[in-house]
């Protein structure tokens, strides 16, 4: 089975060459012999060249895994060879074009709008403040652009993933 994996913006090619354990796994052209054991649920134990790695994996959304290894958690988006790509995730999602879509990272309430339509914004500039769990959280533009659309008003309740602002 061949996978394409996206980790923090970098793409990696993986190939699991067989079934059972140990199994050869190719990562970016380098092949490891991986002795692994999977318990019920999310637990994995990996032995690679004598080194032992404790891992825990949950699927946060289809194809997107949270992988805990030895105290560090990685969020990785996997695609099986020959499947069509899924939209990427994160607080501020962007499509391939210059368009930026600011979505609510969690359910909450619009505490403040920091921009107005047609306003120019710079990279890292705060555009909206969402309040949730007793904290105010500023969402920022990831790169320069112009405010195209503002879909919410101050005080409005928003659900996780709701589109808040569109920048072009």
């Amino acid at each position: 089975m061949i996978y394409s994996a996206d980790l923090q913006g970098t793409n990696h090619k993986l190939a699991v060459k067989g079934t059972g354990s140990p199994v050869p796994v190719e990562v970016n052209g380098h092949t490891y012999e991986v002795d692994f054991s999977a318990a019920d649920g999310s637990l994995l134990s990996l032995l690679v060249m004598g080194r032992s790695y404790d891992a825990d994996v949950v699927e946060e959304e289809e194809g997107v895994l949270a992988v805990w290894v030895e105290g560090e958690t990685y969020r990785i988006e996997y695609q099986e060879e020959g499947r069509r790509p899924r939209r990427s995730t994160g607080a501020t999602g962007h499509s391939v074009s210059g368009r930026q879509v600011i979505t609510a990272p969690m359910p909450g309430k619009v505490a403040a709008l920091l921009v107005s339509p047609a306003q120019e914004v710079g990279a890292g500039q705060g555009v909206i403040v969402i309040e949730a769990m007793k904290m105010e959280n500023e969402l920022k533009a990831s790169r320069p652009g112009v405010i195209k659309e503002i879909m919410v008003q101050e005080g409005a309740a928003v659900g996780g993933g709701d589109v808040l602002i569109v920048i072009e």
Partner: protein, 500 residues
């Protein structure tokens, strides 16, 4: 002693109180909002009653409903935990009127010392140094005058403030007018009260607090200090006891000052005096928290006392179980507050369902948590989901231990600040305790990047194998039935494990 206590709270502190009651043989009554039907405090209590919708003003802050529930369930005392109604003088008074025991100070004491300005007044009257500034609400003109007397930089604070909200640091005359306007408007919006006062801004200071405990017979003790300088947005992140900065002499002086303030307020039950301590070990009373603190476990671990049980005994009229001269601090304790938030995305809250949970084990650990695998972290409440508390023979062991424990702690489904804690614990400034209340913010200003990827390649492999084995039968080793050791007896001899 009470035979039934209602816990007017949720989350880890409600669970903490329930456990103390169980160990004391006292029945427990939980209250819960619609968002908390499956919460751990509901599961663990003997009884549980719905008191309203998720928003706390309609549930955990509903005084009438809670008192009515106590009546209904036949509880004779109420433990407020921290937050919610714990420092609400009206709630304490209502309990007093209704003949219910409020496990905490009297409503009178809360009013006398709980308010920011009233506390400052009381402290300075008791001869305890306070941060230079005013001890009552001011008009805009009075603010300007006060600033002239105190000198810049100053902080304008909302008298009703809290949670790090409603404060503005002013370093130049020019900023003053707008800062006053801004603070007032924020204060009235946030706390429905535009009253403000002024303090000198003490910059490179530490935030160190003293735990006091007072019974109804006039006995008051202090239980050492807690170092709470590591804060983000004025919110504590990591606390430790004792403070590496405090020597026995300073501890005694601060402790005695705290006791003075408590006596001046006729204070009873558990309380905490917050102080600012400057590099030359001058300390200034900041405010008193008239209830149990989130970080009380570190004091319990070094003193060996159970503060919640002590609170309950005091409320039942018993005498303090220790005298000041019997209190010994042993070893060192550290608490990491684990929040459901994303440290790599501006600490964005991360509510949701706990999908995988593995808690660390072994020596010197204490986990105060209200989450379990499959539970939900609701959006409506504080994102504190667990407190990892460790004890070590000395500070070095405690630090090594909390690092070890954090590396074992698995929480998946929501994002947590565990990686943030791990980074902070590795900072030389933490290890040498060269810190103050501004340290964390200034360090964070440099920005925080995700795991450098020591295990990135392994994570990629693990994820692929996870997807891979979902489709195929997984090799899970099982105890080989039938295939039995042919030399049990030999093994039995060499193991003889049960004979130990």
């Amino acid at each position: 002693m009470f035979n039934k206590i209602l816990i007017a709270n949720r989350g880890e502190i409600a669970v903490r109180v329930i456990r103390a009651c169980r160990e004391m043989g006292i029945g427990t009554v939980a209250v819960y909002s619609e968002a908390d039907r499956a919460a751990l405090h509901v599961r663990l209590a003997d009884e549980a009653y719905l008191i309203g919708p998720a928003p706390s003003p309609q549930s955990y802050l509903k005084i009438d409903r809670i008192i009515e529930t106590a009546r209904l369930a036949g509880a004779t005392a109420i433990h407020p935990g921290y937050g919610f109604l714990s420092e609400n003088a009206e709630f304490a008074m209502r309990c007093e009127e209704e003949g219910l025991i409020f496990i905490g100070p009297s409503s009178h004491a809360i009013r006398a010392v709980g308010g920011k300005t009233s506390g400052r007044r009381l402290a300075s009257q008791a001869g305890v140094p306070v941060v230079p500034g005013t001890t009552r609400d001011l008009t805009d003109l009075e603010v300007v005058q006060a600033v002239r007397e105190i000198g810049l930089p100053i902080v304008i604070k909302a008298s009703a403030g809290g949670g790090g909200k409603g404060m503005r640091i002013v370093s130049t005359e020019a900023m003053l007018a707008s800062a006053i306007r801004a603070t007032r408007s924020e204060a009235s919006a946030a706390f429905g009260n535009a009253a403000i006062y002024v303090e000198r801004y003490v910059g490179a200071a530490r935030h160190i607090e003293i735990q006091v405990m007072a019974d109804t017979r006039g006995n008051v003790v202090y239980l050492g200090e807690r170092e709470c300088s590591l804060q983000r947005r004025h919110q504590k992140v990591i606390e430790e006891s004792p403070s590496p900065f405090v020597d026995p002499e300073l501890r005694r002086r601060m402790g005695e000052a705290a006791v003075k303030v408590a006596r001046a307020a006729d204070y009873t039950n558990a309380g905490t005096m917050e102080f600012l301590v400057d590099p030359s070990k001058n300390f200034y009373f900041l405010e008193m928290n008239t209830r149990l603190q989130v970080e009380h476990p570190i004091t319990e671990m070094v003193t060996g006392l159970d503060l919640v049980k002590e609170q309950i005994r005091i409320a039942a009229g018993e005498v303090l179980s220790v005298r000041q001269d019997e209190i010994r601090l042993r070893g060192h304790a550290i608490e990491c507050r684990i929040y459901a938030e994303d440290p790599f995305n501006n600490f964005m809250p991360s509510p949701g369902r706990i999908r995988a949970l593995r808690t660390p084990g072994g020596p010197g650990l204490r986990i105060e948590s209200a989450i379990y695998e499959g539970c939900d972290v609701p959006i409506h409440y504080d994102p504190l989901i667990s407190k990892l508390v460790v004890w070590g023979r000395d500070r070095g062991e405690a630090i090594a231990r909390v690092r070890r424990a954090l590396a074992e702690y698995v929480i998946l489904g929501v994002k947590t600040n565990i990686p943030f804690h791990r980074k902070v614990l590795d900072l030389s400034q933490f290890v040498t305790s060269q810190i103050n209340t501004e340290f964390l913010e200034s360090w964070l200003a440099k920005g925080l990047s995700p795991e450098n990827g020591a295990f990135a390649e392994i994570a990629l492999i693990a994820g692929a194998l996870y997807l891979h084995t979902r489709k195929r039968p997984t090799p899970t080793p099982v105890a080989q039935s039938g295939q039995v050791d042919s030399s049990w007896k030999l093994a039995a001899r060499q193991d003889g494990l049960r004979r130990r």
